[in-house]
């Protein structure tokens, strides 16, 4: 990718930093890594710049204040979401219904009304898409310059992303979790578990939406149904993937100085808890715990999405654009 550019400006470095997926190969093959006097640590530098891009292009910009710290912001969001949902809960029906075992079609909506959930969900989703789009556009304007990304480039980026192409490193894999480890597919597998786990959970939500609004079948759904099967599979994959990431991260933390780590961890923990509470809701849906668990789970979901434009979730926007830009430049150079 570097060979397609001659001079380096800030935007170029931002572009490269978002192409970097911290595979560690350049660190492994660079003779100037510490203790060399030049002390070059490319993945570390790129990680710093990447973190900075998330802040710089955040929408709205003011919110970027939160994106660095992660934990505090996330806890606050959780508290806020829980409170909001609790107020909505209190606004109708019997105050004590949260402690009752409710079952049968529409049991979830006894706790929180269907309409309010639909509206809140749509609003949040709309907010995320809008914030992502604006940030992505700002970023593209900086890194793309006068060149125009075409549909072809975006399609390539799409296949690269969902095919986990770069984690495979052309067969070399990533030096992961340890920097001095031979390349392997450990990182690719871990990332795939999270990515596809997440997509399956998303599918669960969408299919539930379809069943309910088009076929008028109200949740909870039987075990052998699209929403539940994909929800369980996705949830388990997410839990395994996110835990693996956290474990790998932890055992190699002393060798790496990666400023992205706090943001990574916050996102992973949020994913993990969302998936975990989701499974809990499913497991206890016929008991008196369902109401409380549902409130917690939905609060987690909203944390995940409201923080999406500021935390690690946003990487998909900048990375996707950068890969598209890479394909564009590759194409323009006739490679």
């Amino acid at each position: 990718m570097i060979e397609y550019r001659r001079e380096f400006k800030t935007a170029d470095v931002e572009y490269v930093s978002n192409l970097c997926h911290d595979c560690g190969q350049c660190f492994d093959v660079c003779p100037y890594t510490p203790p060399n006097e030049f002390s070059v640590d490319i993945p570390k530098i790129l990680s710093e710049i990447r973190t900075e891009t998330y802040r710089k292009y955040a929408t709205p910009r003011k919110m970027s204040l939160f994106s660095g710290s992660g934990i505090g912001f996330t806890l606050m969001l959780f508290g806020f979401s829980f409170l909001a949902l609790f107020v909505i809960y209190l606004s109708s029906g019997n105050y004590l219904r949260i402690f009752m075992a409710i079952s049968g079609p529409g049991s979830f909506y006894v706790i929180l009304s269907n309409d309010i959930l639909d509206v809140a969900g749509t609003l949040i989703l709309f907010f995320v898409v809008l914030a992502w789009s604006i940030s992505g556009k700002k970023f593209l304007k900086e890194v793309g310059g006068h060149s125009n990304i075409g549909l072809y480039d975006l399609i390539r980026a799409f296949f690269d992303s969902f095919g986990e192409k770069w984690f495979r490193g052309g067969g070399a894999g990533c030096n992961y979790p340890h920097r001095d480890e031979r390349g392997s597919y450990k990182k690719m597998i871990t990332h795939s578990l999270v990515l596809y786990g997440f997509l399956l959970d998303f599918l669960a939500t969408t299919s539930a939406f379809v069943e309910q609004d088009f076929f008028h079948v109200l949740p909870p759904y039987p075990i052998l149904s699209m929403p539940v099967i994909s929800g369980i599979t996705g949830g388990v994959m997410l839990i395994i993937g996110a835990s693996l990431f956290l474990i790998f991260d932890y055992i190699s933390s002393s060798e790496k100085d990666v400023s992205m780590t706090p943001i990574d961890r916050t996102f992973l923990v949020a994913l993990l808890l969302t998936a975990f509470t989701g499974l809990l809701v499913l497991g206890f849906r016929n008991t008196s715990l369902m109401g409380t668990l549902l409130l917690i789970h939905l609060s987690m979901v909203s944390v995940l999405f409201i923080s999406a434009p500021y935390g690690k979730f946003v990487h998909l926007v900048y990375r996707f654009i950068s890969i598209g830009q890479y394909h564009l430049e590759k194409r323009l150079h006739g490679d």
């Binding site: 492994d28 003779p31 100037y32 890594t33 510490p34 060399n36 006097e37 030049f38």
Partner: protein, 462 residues
């Protein structure tokens, strides 16, 4: 810790690893000691990029490189000062290098399209020398070769023409190990500036060592003590012009500056001392280290103007910059009067009509100067002006031990040792006794490493 090994390999660079991996095809009772700690392993090899090898048309280069041409190239650069038998062996064995590399999981670049003048004769390792050496180490670990970092060999014991024991100094102190045979692959002595100063005097204080700080020639000293036949002497080394601000050791390839042919280059007194445009830069860059070593204070300064600044690769350190020549001189610590006079005389000596062309030996030259500039002589008149300060950067030394075609070390009387071998920089001088041919250091080390490793196993058994 074990105290007896079939094969001991001294040095963990290209030659040492090739020897170890080759020996491992026959035995697993191998100890490799590397003086550097693990993060700094790989000697000068980690700074390399390419290997020269004889080949027919293949996917790694832009054309064929026949044995004869290869042999002739070496004969030419060494002024016919080479052991032709050893040379021919290296050249014909070099054909196996790509398959050897692939076997050890070293990735090779596909042919680089016309970018470098080495594209036809040399292959480039994917990720460079450090990637190659990392693959070698991974292969060695897989084969059960014992590797001790931070461990130096400090002495060898002989009985007749056999080595019997080796003294090692490691993290746990000193110990002696019994050895079946030994391959010395400990590189050159370029980092031992104290030793070099026996010839160069205090000038070595101003030398920069481009490669590892661990190549101190200890084994060469040991072998000298044990009456080994040597080649070359302390005066010889390969060196280039590097930025004077480079680290004393381990600056690698990035500290080299290629401004000289598009500049005038002066010493501390502000005088030019050698034809900057004598020949194409790839043929000349290797003489400048030595030229600078001979200047007062081992310093030189290359002056270019804004027309020339983009003609060569950008440098790691920013050049010094000023709008006037005298201002630049003051910043660089040269006498402003002298530099201004040198620039003026140079500018006045230029041909009026010529076609400047950095790609060829063009017709832009000076006339009437005591030190001419034969090509690319363009006026230095467009501010801002830029200055780079240089010191000699030593790449490697030529001083080493004499070997035969098995890699066996010869004693003073010309008889080979039964079980003592040498490979790599410590014996490269047998073949490359002077001059330079890019990518040839690794060729010699690889071929002799593989040979010595194999021979060491059979010598250990007898």
């Amino acid at each position: 810790m074990e105290n007896s090994y079939s094969v001991l390999i001294i040095g963990g660079g290209n030659a040492g690893l090739c020897a170890a991996l080759s020996a491992a095809e026959h035995t697993s009772d191998i100890l490799l000691v590397e003086a550097a700690p693990k993060p700094e392993r790989g000697g000068n090899t980690k700074y390399t990029r390419d290997i020269r090898y004889a080949h027919d048309l293949d996917g790694y280069t832009t054309g064929e490189y026949p044995d004869d041409e290869f042999v002739n190239d070496v004969v030419r650069v060494t002024n016919n000062n080479t052991d032709v038998d050893l040379l021919k062996m290296v050249v014909s064995e070099s054909r196996n290098i790509p398959s050897w590399l692939q076997n050890k999981d070293v990735l090779i670049h596909r042919a680089l399209k016309g970018t470098l003048h080495l594209g036809r004769t040399n292959l480039f390792m994917f990720g460079g020398g450090k990637a190659m050496i990392n693959s070698y180490y991974a292969a060695a670990e897989k084969l059960g070769i014992k590797i001790e970092y931070n461990t130096k060999c400090t002495d060898l014991e002989f009985s007749g023409n056999r080595v019997t024991n080796a003294s090692l100094n490691g993290p746990d102190g000193n110990r002696t190990v019994k050895v079946g045979s030994v391959v010395v692959a400990s590189g050159g002595l370029e980092a031992n500036l104290e030793w070099l100063s026996e010839y160069w005097g205090s000038a070595t204080g101003n030398f920069i060592v481009r490669g590892t700080r661990y190549n101190r020639g200890e084994l060469l000293r040991v072998l000298l003590r044990h009456k080994t036949k040597t080649i070359g002497n302390l005066s010889q080394f390969h060196s280039v012009a590097v930025d004077a601000r480079s680290p004393k050791f381990d600056g690698g390839i990035v500290t080299r500056i290629d401004s000289i042919p598009y500049s005038i280059t002066v010493n501390r007194d502000g005088n030019r001392f050698y034809d900057e445009g004598e020949d194409l830069w790839p043929k000349r860059y290797a003489i400048w280290g030595r030229l600078i070593a001979e200047q007062p204070g081992q310093l030189a300064f290359s002056i270019v103007d804004s027309k020339a600044i983009n003609l060569f690769l950008p440098t790691v350190f920013e050049p010094v910059r000023d709008d006037t020549i005298s201002g630049l001189a003051i910043k660089l610590g040269i006498s402003p009067e002298n530099l201004s006079r040198t620039v003026m005389e140079y500018n006045q000596s230029l041909k009026r009509k010529c076609t400047f062309n950095p790609g060829i030996l063009d017709d832009c030259s000076t006339s009437g100067l005591a030190v001419p500039k034969s090509h690319w002589a363009a006026p230095i008149d467009s501010p801002p002006f830029y200055g780079y300060s240089f010191r000699p950067g030593i790449t490697f030394t030529y001083y080493g031990v004499k070997v035969n075609s098995k890699g066996q070390v010869l004693s003073d009387d010309g008889n080979p040792s039964r079980n003592l071998f040498a490979a790599g920089e410590i014996m490269s001088g047998n073949i490359l006794s002077e001059g330079y041919l890019a990518g040839f250091g690794l060729t010699i080390g690889t071929v002799f490493g593989i040979t010595a490793g194999k021979e060491a196993v059979s010598a250990a058994g007898s």
